[in-house]
Amino acid sequence: MHIEVDIHKTLRSNGRDFTLDVKFACDDDLGVVFGPSGAGKSLTLRAIAGLEKPDYGRIVVGGKVLFDSMAGIDVRANARAVGYLFQDYALFPHLNVEENIGFGVKRWWERKLSANAARRVAELLDLFELRGLNKAHPVQLSGGQRQRVALARALIRRPDLLLLDEPFAALDPLLRERMRAELVAMRGLFKVPMLAITHDPEDVSVLAETVIVLSHGRVEKVVDVKTAPYRDGEGRVSEESIRGLLTGMDKADPPPIPRKAIRAVK
């Protein structure tokens, strides 16, 4: 999945300016935008989803131009075919698990889901082990269950790209480990390209093929972590090398960036 982001936006609050000036391209199916809080990660992700309008720039996802200020293109959020996993999931509190998952495939004039849509909801309930909880409301669910519902709700529409906003930040550490593994398994099943934002090096080591390091609203570097020295013998990215990315002091010399995978621009 080819993603191209080149956006600029100035936010003003309490007399202080924040300027987002982010430009990167990513050809891997697993991208992680990594950086401390306040670096502009959320804003970037929201702009890709169409929830935030950049002052100017261009956003391309898989060959579709979603935003291009020069050409006057600004595809509405509801037409972008992009999935979004909110940090605290944003499950609809007035709908039960089944209705939450089916929300995106039910038209407003329909009283019930179409047979096809109902089958997909049932499939996802099974897949995410939510069978017995289909009538439960979000308040009755545990953190892990909520995340599964949110994932199922996003995946039912088969999005071109799944955006994840700090996917594990709302979970306790023990559960975090398990949900990471679950997400990787799901990703293998659905083959959906993902772009996550996180400030947690652990997330990077599990989810990233390409890391986009962000700080103060700018892209510091774009790193391909598919190969050594970032990956150890078991194909896992070592956390230490990831931590090095954040501080800007790599423990290991970064490998030359393959042209094919990354067109990073600073």
Partner: protein, 218 residues
């Protein structure tokens, strides 16, 4: 019993009108950014602080036979609102409107934007987001407001008297009937009407209090 039934009819229609307009205008003020938003907000709240007789006078100027809207209604449709129960509905709706409007605005502002955004990302149009997310999540607050509006409309006196008068069986609502009964020295009638009104109002307050309790809290 005639004043009670008439009052329920008038208050019912007035509440319906106030609720529909209240939802529409409250949503616009809560969600859209347009110049003069605060002015609109103040105007919409005005009927709550103005004396009902003053409101009634304004209404007469507007919908009276020589009024701006009234003359047009009379000439083109042959409708006259003054001294009719429909006129009483208009008067009660205007007086009760701010109660729905205020409640609806607070309810809409209490709906987390993230739910609406989540629905948008799931492919839903603005209309559908409103219908399936915003309105259901704000519904209890709006309903509590319309119940208060109903109670207010039941007790409406000043504006109704100005616009619709006090024609027994046609425009004489409960509160006006109570006044007339006391004036005429019919204490038994007055007592009966007062007890009926009190029971209805207390039940409404209790019900709307229950609606305002949060529902989806953890």
């Amino acid at each position: 019993m005639v004043p009670l039934l008439l009052t329920l009819k008038v208050a019912g229609w007035a509440t319906l009108l106030a609720t529909l307009f209240g939802i529409a205008i409250a949503f616009a003020v809560a969600r859209l950014r347009f110049p003069g938003r605060e002015v609109v907000d103040a105007m919409m709240t005005l009927p709550m602080v103005m004396p009902p007789t003053v409101l009634g006078y304004y209404l007469l100027v507007l919908v009276g036979r020589r009024g701006v809207i009234g003359a047009w209604l009379n000439d083109t449709l042959g409708i006259s609102l003054v001294f009719t129960w429909q006129g009483a509905v208009i008067a009660a709706a205007v007086v009760a409107f701010p109660l729905v409007y205020k409640a609806a605005r607070a309810a809409f502002e209490g709906v987390e934007r993230q739910y609406e955004q989540a629905a948008r990302v799931l492919g839903k149009s603005e209309f559908e987001v409103f219908l399936r997310i915003t309105l259901p999540l704000a519904w209890r607050g709006i309903l509590a407001g319309s119940m208060l509006a109903f109670a207010r409309a039941l007790g409406e006196f000043g504006a109704t008297l100005m616009v619709a008068g006090s024609l027994p069986g046609r425009t004489q609502t409960l509160s006006i009937a109570v006044y007339e009964a006391v004036q005429a020295g019919k204490d038994d009638v007055a007592n009966f009407l007062v007890v009926v009104t009190s029971i209805v109002c207390i039940s409404i307050l209790l019900a709307s209090g229950r609606l305002l309790q949060p529902r989806y809290a953890n």
